[in-house]
């Protein structure tokens, strides 16, 4: 389960809409409790470093930027608890590529954008055996 505020969600949708028709991505920073429940404290938009011609279908975050984001979060007493990205002109459902590159525990929020409008979103969590994603309950607080 992941908890986030209306403002977090609006910020994610706004990022997805403004980067359309490219995919966008960003981090969910917050707390993780012992039961594996996450609560978002901050969203952090990241730059999509995939090659321009593939950005409609791909998002790639520079690992170094990620390492620095992780370090900054730790300094604030936060952790990366998940990651959001958009699917321009596609469902808010993870692809095989998403599964191949996923980590357990993290929340994967996917926003479907059509004609520059965020029309749907879901949060997903990967099974520990890497076999599939399950839809995760998201609570708007």
């Amino acid at each position: 389960m992941i908890a986030l505020t209306r403002e977090h969600l609006d910020a994610i949708k706004a990022h997805a809409e403004s980067d359309y028709p490219h995919e966008c991505g960003g981090l969910l920073l917050g707390d993780l409790d012992l039961d594996g429940n996450k609560s978002v404290v901050e969203t952090l938009p990241m730059e999509n470093t995939a090659e321009v011609e593939t950005r409609h279908d791909r998002v790639l975050i520079d690992p170094r930027a990620l390492m620095l984001a992780d370090r900054n979060a730790r300094e604030k007493g936060l952790d990366i608890v998940g990651y959001y990205h958009s699917h321009p002109d596609d469902e808010a459902v993870p692809s095989q590529f998403d599964l191949d590159h996923a980590m357990p525990v993290w929340s994967y929020i996917i926003v479907s954008v059509r004609d520059q409008k965020a029309v749907d979103w879901n949060s997903w969590e990967m099974e520990n055996d890497r076999s599939k994603f399950n839809k995760e309950i998201a609570v708007i607080t």
């Binding site: 594996g36 992780d70 699917h87 357990p104």
Partner: protein, 483 residues
């Protein structure tokens, strides 16, 4: 050394919730071993089943990515921090379809067919899928194109484009092993395609029955990953090189003559191109073609398979390809030599201030148009016309400027042999009062001979036999052996 490993949230469930783990290690590899020994289930998230680090796991020693240090062997000093950072990448299902296209899987039949490749770590499943995904264009299905095509097809290159406009000739069979005796008279594209599909029906063979020209080369090249030059003339060789540079493709080059072969990989993005080596072609006629000078058949097999080898390595991303190296091979002395090439910073095509931005007229560039456009500096007749002359006139003599061994096995009745290199010294043997028809195998050496005679002040009437003794055999006397 006491090392602190920073654990990302997704992996803390395997470390009992710890965000930092302390281990003793002297390098990265030892640190990860210590970590996964203590927390065994962690291993499968960090390593693949083949025991290599998952490609989406990034490791930082301090601020530095270990990829830019010494990888897993990167040394750690006391008190240092090792940060595990999972990559973040996402993609929608449209990319999926494309990605599936990009790396095709192998069928059960293909696993068996390519098993000798699959057990080579340098190729393996990943490499074989790269080969299957690759598109290679071979220019010409002749001496070089034959072994090249056969081995690339056998190796499992997914798409082979072949360009040729020629028809299989009896004289091709001595070296062009993709074609058989039954194929004589067929378009080369057709017989090559049939043979390639017999070798490997999994290969998608795209045949282009046309001459490669300045008009079609760029369009054709852009759809392929690697271009292979199996041509036999300078115009096409420069055309292939220029089009490859302009479209950013590697050009795997090979050439053969008599007993000597050359091979290299011209790849402007990574090294020298053909123009860095030879900015300009030799004057027309200086370097004879294989049709005039001959070629040892097996030499084309050796050079063509060297090209095939380099094509596969370019696709597999292997190191040690023939970049910036010109390989010279002499089949008669059985010696290989190698010349170092350097990218020419002033190369007009691939240098920093390149001036060539598009394809040009390669016949003109190689000095061939002059002969076609201007009037020939000598008279010419066809074999049929010569035959009529011989039957009706008595003041016609034929001078054959080929070599003795060629004359020995085929000659036009009544022809006098004076090899090209002796023609000037033996000028007095040619009576001036008669019409002199000069003849060789195909008409090139005889044209040269006429020029020499004219320059030496010969005043009689000189006429070149167009197409040489080959034309005579075609038009007048089919019993005369063609060679």
């Amino acid at each position: 050394m006491a090392i602190t490993i920073l654990i990302p949230t997704p992996l803390r469930q395997f470390t009992g919730g710890k965000s930092e783990v302390a281990v003793e290690a002297t390098n990265v590899s030892e640190a990860l071993d210590a970590l996964t020994e203590e927390f065994t289930p962690l291993r499968k998230h960090l390593y693949t089943e083949q025991n290599s680090l998952r490609n989406f796991i990034n490791l930082y020693v301090g601020d530095e990515d270990i990829r830019y240090l010494d990888g897993a062997e990167t040394k750690l000093s006391d008190g240092e921090t090792l940060t595990i950072v999972p990559s973040i990448a996402g993609g929608n299902t449209a990319a999926e379809a494309k990605a599936a296209d990009e790396s095709p899987t192998l069928t059960t039949e293909e696993y068996q067919r390519y098993s000798r490749h699959l057990i080579l770590p340098e190729v393996g499943l990943e490499g074989q899928r790269k080969l299957k995904n690759a598109r290679v264009l071979t220019i010409g299905t002749g001496g070089l194109g034959s072994p090249l095509g056969l081995y690339l097809a056998a190796a499992g290159v997914g798409t082979l484009g072949i360009v040729d406009f020629d028809v299989v000739d009896q004289s091709n069979l001595q070296r062009q092993i993709i074609h058989g005796t039954k194929d004589v008279g067929r378009p080369k594209i057709e017989s090559a395609k049939e043979r390639l599909l017999d070798v490997n029906p999994n290969v998608n063979v795209e045949g282009f029955e046309m001459a490669l020209t300045s008009e079609n080369a760029l369009e054709l090249f852009k759809d392929f990953d690697v271009v292979v030059d199996g041509t036999d003339n300078f115009q096409t060789r420069y055309l292939v090189n220029d089009a490859a540079v302009l479209t950013g493709k590697p050009n795997v080059y090979g050439s053969i003559f008599r007993f000597e072969g050359q091979a290299s990989v011209f790849w402007a993005e990574k090294g020298a191109c053909y123009r860095c080596l030879y900015p300009e072609p030799p004057p027309p006629g200086l370097v004879p073609s294989c049709a005039e000078g001959g070629v040892l058949g097996v030499l084309s097999g050796i050079v063509g398979t060297i090209q095939a080898n380099e094509v596969l390595k370019a696709i597999l991303g292997a190191e040690g390809i023939l970049l910036n190296r010109l390989l010279l091979f002499d089949a008669w002395t059985m010696k290989f030599r190698e010349l170092k090439l350097r990218k020419n910073p002033n190369c007009e095509l691939c240098g920093e201030n390149a001036t060539i931005k598009e394809l040009v007229d390669y016949d003109a560039f190689c000095g061939l148009n002059a002969l076609v456009e201007d009037e020939l500096p000598y008279e010419e007749i066809t074999a049929t016309e010569l035959n009529n002359w011989l039957n009706s006139q008595s003041d016609v003599q034929i001078i054959d400027v080929r070599e003795q061994h060629e004359y020995d096995f085929a000659r036009i009745p009544g022809a006098t042999l004076i090899p090209l290199n002796q023609i000037v010294n033996r000028i007095c043997e040619i009576p001036k009062g008669k019409t002199t028809v000069v003849q060789c195998k195909g008409g090139v050496r005889s044209a040269k001979a006429i020029g020499y005679l004219q320059d030496a002040g010969f005043t009689g009437r000189l006429v070149n036999l167009k197409g040489g003794i080959t034309a005579w055999s075609n038009e007048v006397d089919p019993t005369l052996p063609k060679y």
